[in-house]
């Protein structure tokens, strides 16, 4: 099976979020970047498991500048066979999706994996876009997948439960918690990653249709009101009369 895993780079989860240039730019100074956890922990690992069982190849794809190569190398260290970086600044979801789709159309993958969302922009958009551009089915929020020949049986999260769907390749899938278990790259993987192919290709033409105009930080919380642990009647009174939430 020929598998593609799309990975993105996000600020580390404890990163301090601040903005510069009159609140139009995310301030990257001092921020450490990681591979988006949903891409790394679930999408990539499930793809590797499929390859280990049935053979084939796992390619990882990133749309981004050269600075993203460290994240891509980590994916190779975890076990992907090769990587492609489409050299462009990923400013909007549809722009990124068009880049991925152009590559995938050329290569013809059996499955395209993505994480269910990135932990920075939380958009959850790119998977659906890629599927539409490729004219393929899209199974989002997959928590489990069994593959038999060309048919995949996928469990996906829906409101208040799960749904089990059957779909034939080719298709696009977004990965949620449960699809696989995180793998930590070992020394051998890290050494091998250095020699695995990372191809850099030019971007195809596409415009950014929706862009961030400005950022703001949420209003600061007022100080906590401490309640005597012996007096829960008082907490209930405040929740009812002051906060009006019960």
């Amino acid at each position: 099976m020929k598998l593609l895993v799309c990975v993105s780079k996000t600020p580390e989860t404890t990163a301090k979020i601040s903005f510069s240039g009159d609140n139009t730019q995310f301030n990257e100074a001092g921020v450490q970047f990681i591979m988006n956890p949903y891409d790394e922990w679930y999408a990539l690992v499930r793809a590797l498991e499929l390859k280990e069982k049935a053979g084939g190849s796992v390619t990882i794809l990133n749309v981004g500048p050269a600075a993203n190569d460290t994240v891509i190398r980590k994916g190779l260290a975890i076990g992907a066979d090769n990587a492609v970086r489409i050299d462009a600044e990923p400013k909007s979801s549809l722009f990124v999706a068009k880049q991925i789709a152009a590559h995938a159309k050329e290569e013809g993958y059996d499955m395209v994996f993505l994480g269910k969302e990135t932990i920075d922009y939380n958009g959850s958009e790119v998977g659906g876009m890629v599927a539409e551009l490729l004219g393929q089915p899209y199974i989002s929020f997959a928590t489990a997948m069994e593959v038999n020949g060309n048919t995949a049986t996928i469990t996906r999260e829906i409101e208040g439960g799960v749904e089990v769907a059957e779909v034939d390749t080719p298709f696009v899938l977004s990965a949620s918690k449960g699809l696989a278990e995180q793998r930590i790259p070992n020394m051998r993987g890290i050494m091998m990653a250095k020699r695995k192919p990372l191809k850099v290709v030019a971007a195809t033409d596409a415009t950014d249709l929706a862009v961030v105009a400005s950022y703001e930080l949420p209003p600061a919380k007022s100080a906590v009101k401490l309640i005597d642990p012996e007096n829960m009647d008082e907490l209930v009174r405040l929740l009812s009369e002051e906060a009006k939430v019960i």
């Binding site: 749904e163 906590v224 401490l226 929740l239």
Partner: protein, 319 residues
């Protein structure tokens, strides 16, 4: 024209559908146009969407649409938009809505904003706000294309009744064959799913073990709340994965979030910081969660939680 896809799982609208129509109506007002609601598959009493501001309701009643397939649904919604002349589409930010958002944006070559949290403004550009960095910041997007697709975050605005029932018209659209076969649907009845819950009782490692969760469940039952937990609690199997709240779990935005025995790590806060009111119960007065809380109780949760439950029962009995 603004077209709102009003989801009707199992033939019934949920609050999120009324929120979406209210939002579509307000967006139409900003643009000086009208809002049309669209239903797919079974949708009981669809005319009621008029109450929330839909000038009319159009429907594609084909029973095949009762099963969700983003490819089929997106094709039908895009064609319906063409039929009614809509260039702005609103969907709920639900599990289906999230899949539709991207497909519709690609299909219509539209700028899109995911999980919009406020009505757009149209003053020198069409702009919409949404949370980014897991709720640690807010971004205002500008959409520059003629076609626009938005998904509306749950509980961001309340449904508003502004009109009365309207007529439902069938719209003729071809429903393509689905390539996805739904084999089974397993939903828990009787509890509100976490992303939609207005009241949440959550607990962490301070609970010491899964056998102690009775007091949390009792409190949730008294309140009519949904239960949640921190990540290590789900990872060690004390609680099911779907209860895991935070940056790498479910994001919630209830009116009330009660956290017992959770330290309030930044990754946990990322999933709960949009809650209207946060109550923290922790025996450590230095726990970081108190900085994000509205009300705090410094004490042993094994005493405090049952006491709070008793106080709530008393309150419920008297009100």
């Amino acid at each position: 024209m603004v077209l709102v896809y009003a989801e009707s799982p199992k033939g019934k609208f949920k609050k999120s559908a009324f929120e979406a129509v209210t939002y579509g109506h307000k967006t139409a007002q900003v643009l000086g146009t009208q809002c049309v609601a669209l239903t797919l598959g079974d949708a009981e009493n669809a005319g009621q969407l008029g109450k929330y501001g839909a000038a009319k309701v159009v429907s594609v009643g084909d029973a095949a649409l009762n099963n969700f397939d983003s490819q089929v649904h997106a094709a039908v919604i895009a064609d319906a938009a063409k039929a009614v002349g809509a260039s702005v589409i609103v969907v709920s930010h639900s599990s289906s809505g999230k899949a539709l958002l991207g497909r519709l944006a690609a299909r219509m070559d539209a700028g899109s904003v995911s999980a919009a949290k406020a009505v757009p403004t149209n003053d020198g550009g069409f702009k919409v706000k949404t949370n980014v960095f897991s709720g640690k910041a807010i971004a205002e997007y500008q959409i520059n294309s003629a076609n626009k697709v938005l998904s509306l975050m749950g509980n961001a605005i309340q449904p508003e009744e502004v009109g009365s029932d309207v007529a439902v018209e069938a719209v003729s659209v071809t429903v393509p064959a689905s390539r996805v076969a739904i084999k089974e649907v397993k939903t828990v009845e009787g509890t509100v799913p976490l992303p939609e819950a207005e009241l949440v009782v959550s607990a962490g490692r301070g609970m010491k073990g899964p056998e102690n969760w009775g007091i949390i469940e009792d409190l949730a039952t008294t309140l009519g709340a949904t239960t949640a937990c921190s990540r290590p609690v789900a990872d060690t199997g004390w609680r099911p994965h779907h209860e895991h709240v935070g940056q790498t779990g479910v994001a919630v935005r209830p009116n009330l979030y009660i956290a017992a025995g959770i330290s309030g790590a930044i990754q946990h806060l990322a999933g709960v910081n949009s809650s209207k009111v946060i109550v923290v119960i922790n025996k450590d007065p230095e726990a970081p969660f108190f900085k994000a809380a509205d009300y705090g109780v410094v004490g042993d949760l094994f005493d405090v939680v049952p006491r709070l439950n008793d106080a709530l029962k008393k309150y419920k009995a008297n009100s």
